[in-house]
Symmetry: C2
Subunit: 421 residues, 2 copies
């Protein structure tokens, strides 16, 4: 490191999307390296509505690695953070900033400390894959800061060691996580299938379910499934490989009926193996079941699927509509069955791309109350609506992969101090 003022701070800010699996990852063959027992496929969600922004900074003035998540300092001691930091540092290259008079050599990185500030533009604890976006953004931004000369595929193998599904957040559109065969995990990487423009008709509505139950973490949940389920091996070996092939083809062809059938079946099978675990794991609750019932009933009445549903390790429903029209009709149905609590503002009940709400002809709470029962339930309109069972809806779409934010005003760390703004 050149002899220079200890005062400089070098920063990089990046934004990384979250993703939702349509063929599920559940079960590891290596707990430490985070290697999966089957391939998985996900769709990346538009970072405009769900993303992590991370600023990483380096300075000779820093005396330890530190991290802040949503403004609150948190420990980096966990093995998953340490694995990511170690792997990125091992790949660091020379960095020179002539204007600032900074020169960092490959070897310097081992002794320099970093500050990391991360922010999710969505509730962290709501079960919306915040760790996927978070680790992807951590690895991506550190790689840029340290001038790592590897592509996003290789970076995905590092993000994977932070959180398995994080590897799929290194790309936009539809992404496959190839489980790989190598013991060291070097071939267990994410591969982009199609970018977000390939199938841009799709609209995604996330129903964030109000829940008072504490959930099993996905890390311990999948370990227990692998150890105790009599069905998981059959799923991973016999069923998923076929579904991966069919799903790739459905995505290439934009074949929504096949896509929907595979997405729903694979979500249900993931929850089935959770239930087959000892003790059983229940991620979906009665509200989740009611959302599925609503979608299934409508799809059947239309004769061909309009909407696919998928649920991760929690009760929230992710609904993928074939197009805007279907999304609009879906949202009307959801709001009919699940109106907001009377003290909830519609503006905070449907967030994200609010134009769907406008298309649905809904401007205020009175329009929600005036929604007629959907025709497919005309003979058995429920006596009761499920008011308050859903916290809010997020309207979004498939989105792009990680990007660098060069506008310094978007940085989360102070360029002088390297501390959170």
């Amino acid at each position: 490191m050149a002899e220079q003022s200890k005062k400089w701070v070098l920063m990089v800010t990046a934004q990384t999307p979250t993703n939702i699996a349509v063929i599920k990852y559940w079960g590891k063959r290596d707990e430490n390296l985070i290697l999966a027992i089957n391939d998985s496929i996900s769709v990346t969600l538009d970072p405009a509505h769900l993303c992590t922004t991370t600023t990483v900074a380096v300075s000779p003035a820093f005396d330890q690695d530190r991290m802040w998540l949503n403004g609150k300092e948190m420990s980096l001691a966990g093995g998953r953070y340490q694995n990511c930091l170690r792997e990125i540092r091992a790949r660091a290259s020379d960095v020179e900033d002539e204007k600032k008079g900074i020169k960092i050599t490959k070897n310097d990185w081992q002794n320099l400390h970093v500050h990391i500030a991360s922010y999710n533009n969505f509730p962290t604890a709501a079960g919306l894959a915040s760790s996927a976006a978070g680790f992807a953004c951590l690895v991506f931004s550190l790689a840029k800061l340290m001038n790592v000369q590897e592509d996003n595929g290789r970076l995905s193998a590092i993000a994977r060691q932070g959180s398995g599904s994080a590897c799929r957040s290194l790309f936009g559109g539809f992404v496959k996580w190839v489980m790989g065969k190598e013991e060291n995990g070097s071939d267990s990487i994410a591969v982009p299938l199609v970018d977000e423009k390939h199938w841009d008709e799709l609209v995604i509505i996330i129903a964030v379910v109000s829940s008072r139950q504490k959930e099993t973490s996905s890390t311990s949940g999948m370990r227990e499934t692998v150890e105790t389920s009599a069905l998981i091996e059959h799923r991973a070996r016999e069923i998923v490989p076929k579904r991966i092939i069919q799903m790739e083809e459905a995505i290439q062809k934009r074949d929504f009926p096949t896509f929907a059938q595979l997405t729903c079946s694979d979500s249900n099978q993931f929850h089935a193996v959770c239930m087959d675990t000892s003790p059983p794991i229940f991620y979906m609750n009665d509200t989740s079941h009611r959302v599925i019932g609503c979608v299934e009933k409508w799809n059947r009445s239309e004769g061909t699927p309009q909407v696919a549903y998928t649920f991760d390790a929690g009760p929230n429903a992710v609904l993928i509509a074939r197009n805007r029209k279907a999304a609009t009709l879906m949202l009307q149905r959801l709001l009919f069955h699940f109106p907001p609590n009377s003290d909830t503002d519609l503006n905070s009940y449907v967030i994200g791309d609010k134009s769907i709400l406008k298309d649905a002809g809904i401007q205020d709470i009175k329009d929600v109350e005036a929604l007629p029962p959907p025709p497919e339930i005309k003979d058995k309109v429920p006596a009761q609506k499920y008011k308050g069972e859903i916290s809010y809806f997020i309207c979004t779409r498939p989105g792009r992969g990680p990007v660098l934010l060069t506008d310094e005003s978007q940085a989360l760390l102070n360029p002088e101090t390297g501390l959170p703004k």
Copy 2:
């Protein structure tokens, strides 16, 4: 038929228990004959608390077959009733009652009509296997009336054609339904494993869950599972056969830990394959999940299972406690988490063998309110109790098979008219 007064009525009354599977039957290989895709094992429940009583009568004065269930006339046109009636008639023998001057020959039965009156001593629509007890009792009582010279094993193959699980209600104690290999179903019969005295320490508590959801019938549910689940074949072929062997051994040895582990796992796997069905079938609801959570937590804290749980095609929990002490402690836990609604009388909230309630030191609703949190949840006592989520509890035990009731006062038909009393 001898020339005699047309006025005579010949009657038989029988009582048949219901049963609950501990290794589940789910899926048919023949829809009409009702042949299963795997063996199953059940425990017969004490008819004192859950049974069907059926009176069957024959008279030359009857001009058609008629049936009344719980006092209400219902159609016998369904294929399942017709199959049972046809099979029993085909096996009828001569009957002579010298005192009444009645003589019916084997061939007469084809032209004589029967009246059938059936009564369940438990709610019919509550998902408590009323069709199992019902068809078993129909077949058993008709066989006695028509002097069918076959043992209960052979009769079970007829009851099976009314409702698959009915075949297991022809015996007390633990019973295996052998799926059989023959195309005509002749070897698909129930076999008694041990009688009800073999393991008489067991105590059974049924939690009847309040439910406002309409459920998928088990007939259509299992058909859809066989047609669409990617896991059901693996379950039926690879998993159940091993479990049947282990379960038989656990029952023979009264090995409660193994029995409990198999019972819970198999119930969960049955619900897993239901969820893996397209569209998915959800029989358990949030209340069912909470009961499981309560049992699992307690079992874990004790280090060895105290209670096994199993759920049929509905949300009701059937809890099998290793002995009276465990049943008492279980009931205290259940009443702590699931107190009755304030307008519910304790006397109608815990029914069946009320001595368990007495052992639990609970005499009135104040004792329920005073129950302390179970020690295993002391660190996280739920803020909220699940009041009203359970309709009532039935305390019972393993019980005997079908019996004839010779006391004419117990008959459900008038001995003069052959019509319901």
